[in-house]
Structure formats: C-alpha cells, structure tokens
Subunit: 458 residues, 4 copies
Amino acid sequence: MRSKAYEVHEECGVIGVVRADGPAAELVHRGLFALQHRGQEAAGIVTWGPTKELHHLKGRGLVSECLPVYQVKALAGSVAIGHVRYSTVTMDRSENIQPFLATTPYGKFAIGHNGNLKNTDALRSRLEAAGSLLSTTMDTELIVHLLARSGAKSFVDALARAAGESLGAYSLVMICEGVLYALRDPHGIRPLVLGELKAGWVVASETCALDALGATYVRDLGPGELLTIENNRLTSRQLLPVGRPAPCVFELVYFSRPDSRVFGQGVHGARTRMGERLAMQDLALGTPMPDVIVPVPDSGFPAAVGYARQSGVALEKAIIRSHYVGRTFILPDQDSRSHSIRLKLSVIREAVCDKRVLLIDDSIVRGNTSREIVAMVRSAGAREVGMRIASPPLAWPCYLGIDTPDRDELVINQHRDEEGVRRFIGCDSLRYLTIDGLAEATGRQPFCMGCMNGDYPL
Amino acid sequence: MRSKAYEVHEECGVIGVVRADGPAAELVHRGLFALQHRGQEAAGIVTWGPTKELHHLKGRGLVSECLPVYQVKALAGSVAIGHVRYSTVTMDRSENIQPFLATTPYGKFAIGHNGNLKNTDALRSRLEAAGSLLSTTMDTELIVHLLARSGAKSFVDALARAAGESLGAYSLVMICEGVLYALRDPHGIRPLVLGELKAGWVVASETCALDALGATYVRDLGPGELLTIENNRLTSRQLLPVGRPAPCVFELVYFSRPDSRVFGQGVHGARTRMGERLAMQDLALGTPMPDVIVPVPDSGFPAAVGYARQSGVALEKAIIRSHYVGRTFILPDQDSRSHSIRLKLSVIREAVCDKRVLLIDDSIVRGNTSREIVAMVRSAGAREVGMRIASPPLAWPCYLGIDTPDRDELVINQHRDEEGVRRFIGCDSLRYLTIDGLAEATGRQPFCMGCMNGDYPL
Amino acid sequence: MRSKAYEVHEECGVIGVVRADGPAAELVHRGLFALQHRGQEAAGIVTWGPTKELHHLKGRGLVSECLPVYQVKALAGSVAIGHVRYSTVTMDRSENIQPFLATTPYGKFAIGHNGNLKNTDALRSRLEAAGSLLSTTMDTELIVHLLARSGAKSFVDALARAAGESLGAYSLVMICEGVLYALRDPHGIRPLVLGELKAGWVVASETCALDALGATYVRDLGPGELLTIENNRLTSRQLLPVGRPAPCVFELVYFSRPDSRVFGQGVHGARTRMGERLAMQDLALGTPMPDVIVPVPDSGFPAAVGYARQSGVALEKAIIRSHYVGRTFILPDQDSRSHSIRLKLSVIREAVCDKRVLLIDDSIVRGNTSREIVAMVRSAGAREVGMRIASPPLAWPCYLGIDTPDRDELVINQHRDEEGVRRFIGCDSLRYLTIDGLAEATGRQPFCMGCMNGDYPL
Amino acid sequence: MRSKAYEVHEECGVIGVVRADGPAAELVHRGLFALQHRGQEAAGIVTWGPTKELHHLKGRGLVSECLPVYQVKALAGSVAIGHVRYSTVTMDRSENIQPFLATTPYGKFAIGHNGNLKNTDALRSRLEAAGSLLSTTMDTELIVHLLARSGAKSFVDALARAAGESLGAYSLVMICEGVLYALRDPHGIRPLVLGELKAGWVVASETCALDALGATYVRDLGPGELLTIENNRLTSRQLLPVGRPAPCVFELVYFSRPDSRVFGQGVHGARTRMGERLAMQDLALGTPMPDVIVPVPDSGFPAAVGYARQSGVALEKAIIRSHYVGRTFILPDQDSRSHSIRLKLSVIREAVCDKRVLLIDDSIVRGNTSREIVAMVRSAGAREVGMRIASPPLAWPCYLGIDTPDRDELVINQHRDEEGVRRFIGCDSLRYLTIDGLAEATGRQPFCMGCMNGDYPL
C-alpha cells in the first residue's frame, strides 16, 4: 500500500518545459500533479518571463493545495521548471522548497534536483570556510555555490566543474538566463526522460508526466548527458564521462507510477512480471496453491494480477482502502499505529472467510503494516494467510535519493531472515522474490540494487 | 469511481452506542470513520454524560478533520450517537450539522437522522403558524418540533405521534435523558443494523461500522421497529405499523461499503453477482468477448471481477486513480471537468494498447466521467472500447434520502436510450444490467427501485 | 483605561436604519464601528431585501474582522438592523450572535437586543414545558418565543404581550416583514436614541453612531415607547406603561463613548464635571494639591482635565498606552497580569520623577490594574502617588445589562472601605467621588445607581 | 496620530541581551514589545544555546502574534538578539525577516540591523560577480557577505572591513559563536543604548526597552564604537573612525517612544519643548490665542501640552481615537481614506463647538489626514480651526533608515509653501516650527536634519 510512503520516500520529482505556443507554467503544473507520488511535502514552479526575470511560486503541501491554478496562470514565460519534494529532515525551513533560485556570475538561475549527494559534509565545510553563505540545508544549494564560484568562463563549463565535484545521484532541470538545461548524473541513478510537445520539449522524472501533457516520449537522457534547449532548439552533449551504470531498481519495484516507463521499460509490466516470477518460484517448489489471491492495496496490485495469471488462482480485491483518512491524520493513542491502519484498510469478510488467502505486496520495510494486515485478514475468517513479496528483502539503506529508515529498523535485519520476518508478521508462509527473480523480471539490466545487496555504484 | 459522490449523494450515516465498559464517544468516532462514505461534509457526536447532560462535538469536513481525537476523548458518557452528513442545499448554516440537540418536555434530547421526508413544506408551514421557531433547514428539526408539541404523556408516545406525521425515509438514532432509541421508518427504506459489543450495543447504518468496533452483527432493525436501550438493557417494540417493504436497491449498487452487509446480504457479493449477471447477458446474446476486462475505479471493481470470472476473460487494473487530488480541488478552466478527471485517473498504456477493452462500472449518472474515461482508454491505444454498467439506467430522481440531479440531467433522459447514451459516451458498445438481472443478483427481494423504474413506496 | 473592558462589560449595542436613498446595510455597518466599544466579541447585520426576505451577515470578533465591506455591500435592502455583542458565558455557540432571526406567525422577523432580563429561568422552563425548542442561550430568544406563541392577532399586540412578560432591561431594534420597530423598556435603563437621515431614520444605542452616519439627533426614545418605521414613515406609541425611571448612570461614568450624548447629556462634559467635583471635594477638605495631574489611560482623561482645570494644577500625559498589544494577547505566566499591564502601559519617567503625582481614573473594579499602575508610577521616581476616582465605589452587581464580576470580587468589598482599598492599591491617598458628587455632576436626574448603592428599579 | 506609521516608517528596532541568571530570550521578547513602534511587519529572536548552536524564532506581524510566549521559552541560551521590522518593498519574502543567520568562517553568526546603506547596488553587483549567492533583498545580508569573504584573520577584523565598505546608517546587534557584539555607524545616525541588568547587559535602540526589562541606562554607544560582551564581560573599542556626527532628529520629533531617552535627552521633554517653542513663535508674532488647544492623537500630545502650558490656553482631548479599527482594516471605497480616518477618529462636539480651536500635530507628511481632521473639527461646530506643526516641513527623502514617500508626494513640495499647505489642509491658520526653533528645543546638537533641509551626512 502507498502508506509505505511514510516509510520509504523518494526525495523528489522534477520537470522542465519549453514551448513556443503558450505559457509553460501550466504544463509544468499539470506535470507536477502526475509526479506528486514522488514528493508530497512541498512543490514549486519557476518560469523565465518575457521581462527576462525569474518568477516563482512555491509552497508546502500537495500541488493542489500549494500551487493554486490562478497563481500558476500568473507565471508568465515559455520556459519553466517544477519540483515536488519530500524530506523529513529539513522541512521546517521554507527556504528548502525547490526550485532554488540564485543570481550567479552567469546570470539569473533556477534549479530543481532529484537525488542525493554523498560528499555533502565535505563540500559544505569547504564552501563555508571560503566565505560562502549557505541559506538552506539542501544538497542542491551546494551545487549552485560550486557553480557560482567556479571561475569558469561559461555557464556550461561552470556546471561541468560543479557536477564533477558533486558525487552522488542527481537528475537536474535548470534555467539560466532563459535557457533550459537538463543533466543526469554519470551513473544514471535517477530517471530523466525527454518528451516532445506539439511546439516544444519537456524533460521529466517519469513518462507519466509526459502523458499528462499529451507529449510524445522521445528517449531517456543518458548518464552524464546535458540537454540544452535554447529558443526551443534542442542540443545534447556528453558533459560528464559515463560511470558504472546504476539505475535504481526500486523505481521499478515501488516508486515510479505504474503507468510510467522508466529505464526503458513499462513499470506496470515489470511489476506484473515480478508477480509471475513469484508464482513460478512457488510452483517450482511445489507449494500448495491458495484459494484466493489478495493484493495489498494499492501497490501490490500488478504483482497480484501477475501471480494470479501465472498460477490460475482467482483474485479478489478483498482489502479496500478508505479515501477519507487523510495523509496527515494521526491517532495519538498508545496503539495508534494499529488503529490508523484499521481506519484506512478494511477486509471484506465474505471474500476471505474460510479460505486459504495469499496476500501479495511489493515490498516490506518495517513490517508493522504487514503484521496488522495479516491479523485483520485472519480475524475476518481466513483459514490460512500466506504472504508473498514481489521483491527481495530490503536490508541496506539508500544514500542516493531514497529516504529509508536506519539499517536496524528494517524488518529483515530486526528479525534476521525470512522465517524471522514470517513469525513477526504472523503469517503462515512468507516468501520474497529472489534477486535473480527480480533480475529476470526486469530484463537483467545493470541496476543499482544497493538497498537489497549493499552494492552501491559509488 | 467514487467521484460519483459529486453526482449522487447519500444524505447521511448514523450510529449509536451504549456500553458498560468505557466511554461511548470513542467507539462512535471510530464508527463514523467507517461510515464516512455516507457523508463527507460535516460530522458530529453527542454523548450523555455522568452529569446527566448532553455533550456535543460537531464540525465541517471529514471526521478526521472536524472531530479531533483529543476532543472526542473529552466527551464523557457511556451513551453516544454520531452522524455524518452530506447536503448541497443547506451547508452554509452550521446549525444544520447533526446530531440536533433540544430540550423537550421529555427532557434533554439529541437526534441523528438518515433519510428524507416528503411532506416537509406542509409540516414547516403548520409549525411556524403555531408559533414554533425553526432554527435549521433540516427535515430532522421538524420531527423534533412535532415531538415537543405532541402533548403526549411519554417520550415514546410523542415519538410515535411525530413519526406518524412524518412521511418518508428515516433511520433515526436518538438519546433522550440518557436512553438510546433507534427507529426505522415503516418501509425500511434506509438500512439500520444492530450489533453487540462485549459489554454493550451498537446501532449503525451499515455493518462496516460494527466491524470497525469489533462488534458482532445481530440483525437488521425491522420496518417501524423501535429499539430502546436503557441501562444497557435492550427492548424492542413495533412502534409503527409495517408499510410496503422498500429497502433502497441503490445501497447495494453503489452507496454502501463493499465490506458491509445491508438488507441481509453482503454488498461485495451482490456487486460481484451483478457483474456475473452482466456477463451472462452478454454470453446469452453471443456478444464477442474482449481481450481484457478493466474496472472503472473504484466502485466498478467487484462487478468487474464477477464479469471476468463468469467470462473467463483476463482482468487488468489498467486505470489507476491518484490519491493526491483532493476532494475539494477544482480547476477553474473552461474544460476543467475533463482536466480534473485526467488529473485523477490515468490509463496504463501497456495494459490496453492494441487490445479490445471492456470497461465495467456500477452505474452512470450524467455520463461526463464515463465519456472522458472512454476517450482516455482510446487514446492509450485500445483497439476497441466497450462499456458495461452493472445496474439499470437511472431515470428518476430519489425523494427518499439520495441527492440525485434533476430528472433531465440524467444521461439516459438526455440521450433517450442505451444507444443514445452509447453515442454520447463514445464507446463501441454499451449494455446495462436489466432490472430483472439486478433482481436476480440481489435475491429477488422487494426493493425500492424508484430511481430506475419510477415506482416509489410513498 | 479601556482594559476595564475585561472586567466590566456592556452586553451590547444596537442600531436600526431605514432609508429611501440607498442600501441600509452600509450605514448600519458604519454605525456598528461607532458602537464597537459596547461589544467586541461578535457582530451582525440583518437587512430586509427587495425580494421580501431577510439577509444576514454575522461573525465573531471586531466589526472590521467579521463584517467585511464587500459582504456588507451584498446585503440588499433599505431596512437594516445591526448588533455588537459581548458575552462571557455563551460565546462558544455561534447561534448566539445577534441579530436573531425567526419566522413567526407574523412573518419573517429579526431582532437585536441590548440589556438583560431578570426572569429568564422562569421563562425558559415555561417555554420548554410547552414544547418550544430553544436554540440559543440568549434572553433575546425568550422574547421571540413569547411573541411567536402569544396568539395575538397583530405583531404589535404580540410584542406588547411578550414585552409585558419580560422583566428587565431592553432596548430592542426589530424588523418584521420589512417594518422597523424600536422599543425601550418601561424603566428606560439602556439608552436608545432617534436620529434623522437626509432621507431616512436611524435608531441607535448612542449618538456617536448618529454622528458616524451624518444623522441629526432628534430625541431619546421614551421608556416603554415603541417606534414604528414603515415605508420611511415614523409613528410612535406608548406600548408599555412607564415604570420608575432608571437610566444606568454607569453609561455616563464609563461605558458610553465620550463623544456621545446619552440620557440627554454629553458624556464628555459629564465626565469633565465629575473631575471638577472631585477637585472641589479635595479643595473643600483642604487636601494639599499635587505637582501634576496624570490621567489613567484612556477613560480617566476627561475627569483629569476637569480636575486640573478646577484645581489649577498642571496635567501631564505621563502614562502612555501601547497600541500594539492586541486584545487577545495573553501571557501564560504566573505573574502574567502584572506583565501584561506593563506591556500595555508605560510611565514617562521625566514627567513624574521627583513629583507629587495625582492619578485620576473613572472607576475601580477589582483594583489589580490600579495597583500595578501605582507601582509603576512610583518606580518611575514619583515622590508621592495619590489616586482619585471620578465615581463612587462599585459595591453591587448589575443584573440589567452589564457583566460585572461577583460581589465579593469587587475591590471595595474585598478590602472593606476606602482605606482598605488604598492599602491594597498601594497609593498614598485615595478618594472616590461621593454619590452626591456624582448626582451633582450628572444633573440630579433619577438614575439607576444599583451597582453603587444596591437600589435597583426591579 | 500614529497612523503616520503608514506614511513614514522607521525601518527597524534592535535589542541584544547577555545575562548570567537565566534565559535571555524572554528579556529580548519583552524588549521587542517595547520597540514594537519601530516595526510592525515582522519580528525575530535568535539565541546562542548551551549546545553551542543558534536557535531562532521569526514571523510576520506583531510581536504578540508571531512570537508566542511558549515558543520563546523554548529558546535556550543566555545570549540573544531580537529585531522588529518594517519594510514595504521586501515583505513578500520571509527570508527577509531578521535576525539574519549564517555560518561564516568565524563561526555561527546572527545579526539584527537598524538603518539603511547607501551603496547597496554597487555592493550587490560586486558580490554576485564574485560568486556570492544572495538569498535576501536586505542590506544586512551584504554586510554579512563582505564579512564572510573578507579574508581577515579574526571576526572583529572582518567586521571592521565589512563595515568600512558599508556606507550609511547602521546600528547592529550580532552574535558570533556566543559572543554578543553591538556596533554603531561612524555618524551615529540611528540610536543605540547600553543598559545594565542585575546580572547582565542589554543593548537596544531605545531606553524604553531598557525600562521594560528593569535595566539601568548606562550610556549611548558612540559613533563607530564596537561593544563586545563575552562571558558577561563588557569591552569596548573604537572600531571605526568617528565621522561627522549626525543623529536623526526625526527620532525626537516622531519616531522614538515618548518615554525613551535618545541621543542623551528625554523624548517627551523634547516634544513638550517643541510645543513651547511653537507657542513662543505665535506669541512673538502677536498671533491671537485660540479658545482651546486640541492635540492630534496620539503623537501631537506632548507638544500640545507644551503649547498650552506656554500660552495659558486650556487643553481639551477633543479628538478621540478608536482602538477597534485594526491596523490592517482597509475600506475598498472610492473615498475610503476619508472614511477610514473617520472610523478611527471622532471629534467631541461639545468640546469644540463654537470655539476657536488650535490643533497641534508633530509633523505632516502627505497632508491627507490633517485635511480630514480639520474638516471633522469644523463640522463639529468649531468657529475657527488653526493648526500648528511642532517641526519644520518635511521636504526631502531619507536614505538612512526611514521609509519616506517620494519627494513630490510630500505636501510641502506639492503645495509649494506654508500658505499652499494651509489652503490644502483647509485650516484658517497654519504655522510650522522653524528649524531654529527645533534646534532650540533639542538643545542645539549637530543633528541630521536631511529630511528638513536636504543636508545629509553622506
């Protein structure tokens, strides 16, 4: 279920639009709605207006709350970038809402960033010692200071120097004096795609934002590639040498929207195949089949369909989710967590009663939600409750743009192994998709699976 | 999809709790969360406290917004009633939020009401001429004035007289001087069920509220039956003569929650059977089967599962719904309606592309949403788009507790017949479930199908 | 100082306007600004519109906060009434904001009330037993129920009956089916004046509201007099027999605005004369004169000018008041009261240092503020600090429209006599104006001085 | 009247506290209340806590609104600075609320600034070209960038360099790594005073803040003087060479609070003497004396008392000001300005009717308010209305910390001379205090009178 959003967070989503036939801000706005799942805490839009100035609109909360249409319409200009953000650490400071604006030696500049740097502490100390004043706690600002102080002759050279010093994951959209730039880090860790409008271009974190704008998908940006769009003319250059390719597999497992294509494949299809692989694992081991397959809402659905299809077992939407329990609703009780899950989810008794039920979810982080769901299904009369997870155990933290809990809070580390997790969750059987199964389902590309195997590109 | 909630509204949901082992307000609160789908505009709780006074908490918005836990905890007392409300007409007046409180000749009194009266104008004129001051625009207040002025010796006699003069649909929960009363109108139009707690009783609009409290379902209240719970002791009497039985079939088709039992049957099962009947209709007519069955979120799901199961065709969750577009978000554009549906719903291209798609929905009101969805599926590459509706056309208004649009705004009346609607919706084929099919799916009980056939119990 | 407003509260101010040359609501609005000192907790306006309906606008807070101009402009109609309100007891209920509206047997009705009834409990019980539903906790509603149930043939007869049963203080402005009515109780306790507009009439609590509208003062309404303004034609009748005359002297001492005329005399002049009488008392007793007269802001000013003029001693505005400490600002400290006075008031050291200072205030309620001020003046270096109060001690509660503290919280009762109060206040000398002095200053009219001598008209 | 605050604004007020016997934030908070008249748009407090970190609390609006006591109490530390701010230009950006925080090569740093620089544009361009990122639009930030990039070895050297490059008015309070610094510009344009606490020190814009804290006034800081308070030990050094002395005379005329001492003299006394000088001017010219002296609230009061005392004419507080018309209340009408003054001010008819009235005000900016007041007094029946202004005409803008309107909006420039202003204001006679009279009243010190004579220190 998406409430995993409270446990594992994508840091951000970005979008940039250049168009010849109207204001760009409205398209960016529509794209941010489509990218909302990548960040729900804040959002912002910056445009380059006809008066050769940057205009911005930023706020806290959902796009629908903090970027009102009438204010978006007031943002003149045919070049715009936008950003949605999640961050636990820094949200007390409104300065941290992106895009970040600055006047640099290369002119008026704005930047939106998806990802995380690894060497922030070193960069921060170095810059402060040199007399730079940092006004936010964001990685992104560090890149801008490096750029502003680079001493390089041109903006692109300055960007190359700044990016060269910034180790980590970044997909950037930028405006500098009216030119749109988009850059992906040398490992291609976070997605960034290019789309074509009737009279313009769009770059965005996921293709679902392209669809929202009626744009045609052109291609993914390559690792280290810089796109430049000036006067609606697109040019590309390899700004940075390509590193070890490491697209984040968790984008396919959980983060990206099911209707997006990322890293060259459809997310829905990948997830359905993960479910099929799960079923193959069970069938190969001769595991007895259940009476009914039940997806854990909402993210377990494609895998459940895949499992059901592969196994021939009937699927039932036996767990429903209330739309009325707000994101921010918190029960202050002792046992609030349990209550709040029970307020959000309900089990349809007649669909599970007296049946052997197999729950399908995409992943488990801390395990508390799973544990609660198993108990609910059981008390609705299920005779047996199994669980299958359509990805390998999450055993390591992510330093590259996903806000995971500490290592020792992850359920697999807390309870040692699959059997320990099963006991904690309280189900009758539990099985994860293997790393190999995941690789099969995702086409054996060279992914970063750092959160599953501890092997990071940096 | 639930956005039908903007087109057809259930007026209300009610709950009443008496318990011997703790404060009742918290249980009512939890029950109101479960009944939230029956009214999202306002909510309220009234308790009878140890000081022999009524305490109340009311507000506008969702239960999670307007009834904060810490304030609910402050409502002392082992007897409580609660109410959730939707009303387009009267929401500018905060007095209209229920439960309604009054001091009557029979003591301190509070009432929550689900339903609508037919003879409100006559009652209102009569009362005002006699010097009663009406302080709200609610039907409910009329019942209370009738009761207060009845001249009857006892509260129950007064209630019988007041109810006798009130024609229409009502499921009432009331507190009078610490005694809980629950009454269902003589036709049994709106649901009302009784459940048993470990140490107490609960009456509620639907069983999903019982489940939320861990209560055991005992039975439905009968038409015209009055339950009295005094000092945790339950008694029943037939307060009013039983009328022509007329439970609202739309509760099964759309309103009630899929995990509830209403009028003696499971809602999920009924809806799944409606889908099976739909498939049988198609199969009987030799209609060619599609490549994929796609439910319209969220309410089309059980029928889609039923259709898929009966037909053997694969189901895909190919339309996804954003959780981030708030209930209240409104785009002020010319073509806002279309945009706002496109912000809420997305079609997974790879799941429908080049396929013959059959969409399943539970009902159509004005048809605009359906029209938009068909267009979206088509532009995602579907080769053919059919639609099946798991209930008969809505052709008449409801006067008994559902807030439907005017007759001539209903799509079937605007476009004359199934073929007219099909052309308006823009799909390649359209078929509704027949009245007979609906009767089969719901067990051939004597339902009110007034909105479908114009035949009302009053 | 006006912060006495936190200790002694006028319940309300009322205004009614009929005009032939434009909308009445804007004039009522402007009048309510002028009457704001009579009630700061809530305000409301009701108009009779061209569609023969009542329109209303009400809210909590100051007129400037709760009655926005653009909404006032939307209130059509040439007849309007308005109300400002203070009430400690009942402000949790928004229903209590006046004017109160009702549909009566005599038609659509609205009422604004200044004053308090004495027999509310008896009236309330009688009405509830007879089946009336009370929707507020206001005295005013009782009058309306009595009126609605009177059975009288005409509205005026009904009003006479209802008023006849209502004992206490009331100045009423009413609209019934487009006719404006104004009624003053038989004792004439609260003020009510009539003014003439260029093309219309206005009735209001004080003449300052007339000035705000550019209206000409015509006369005070008489005790028991009913004014009727229909189609801009004024008629008068003696609705109720005249009782013992008892205008509230505290209106002159503190409540009414200094630029108003009430009960036939200018408030500023009366207060200045109270100060002169105070000086005469001191001079007659041979009391040594101080170096400087210092008014306690803001209400002590006219008396201080009177004292200074009579005694020939120089006046200094040596205590200044901050405009930036909001009405609602509350310090949660132990010693908050002291702090909050010190935040509001400051003493100008150079104006009092080494001087014998005589502070002049209009009255003392609990004495805490006075005590604090004396200490402040002393610590600013004053050699001697005396205090004179321009009215007799407040020793009794008011039941007729002023919200005083309990008898035993009044400083004169807590500390027995003038000497006790002096010790509590901490000043070197203290003297109150005598009852006789007050009578001299106010022209020896037959006032209600119940709060000073315990002698009430009822 | 203080509503001049809408025409001429002091930019800021500052305060810094070091104490050994408790948290400093609460004292700063109390001091900011006392300095509120110097800035009402925003406020902030920064403390240096025991964990060797800066804590801050900032917000928009009045101190009572934006710095709640319970949050102030949470600011640990014995060293604190505070700031109140007014600024028309930049308030859309919350980053502009002071104190401004930064991490510099010299450690964690916070600064509050009263005044304005002249060479901002040059500094800004230079810094941006060198790669500094400016995050606010405040002069203050420029000083900090200069400091951070100075390359100096010590903080004090860096401060000297930065201040040396910053031309204009500044009174600064700063914290750097737990040490409090206070610096006044070489011309001593804005006030800054030192006070002693029982166990600590306080620096503040005015002595009224010292009084609010119970601190003893020690002395004014000298031009170019730097105070350092480390571990509660005070040291002083002449950081910058003393320039031409130029304390702002308008602090005495209007800005500073009457109970403050600034530039070595009491404000109340200075204003009273300005009134006396005004009377002397009239008497010397044989001008016929009026019947009554009436101060324009609130700031005309001390001068009116001075005039009355010198002339022997009676003073009447005949214009009263409503406390209920909020700062932010704006009437959207055509003639709103006139209306809004009439809502705020009222004339007591009986105090001016048939009299020759002389109004006393401290200064005139645009003249609209004066014009309105004259009309009000006239229509209250005054036989003659004269006006005296207790300072010379404002004919030039201020570049050094006061936000005046453009030159051509000043009434003296719009209407050429005293006679032109008199005709515009509509009074029967008008006279300003002469520059020489002002010099006499203020003790013939070398003030900056730039706004009156165009002669600025820079």
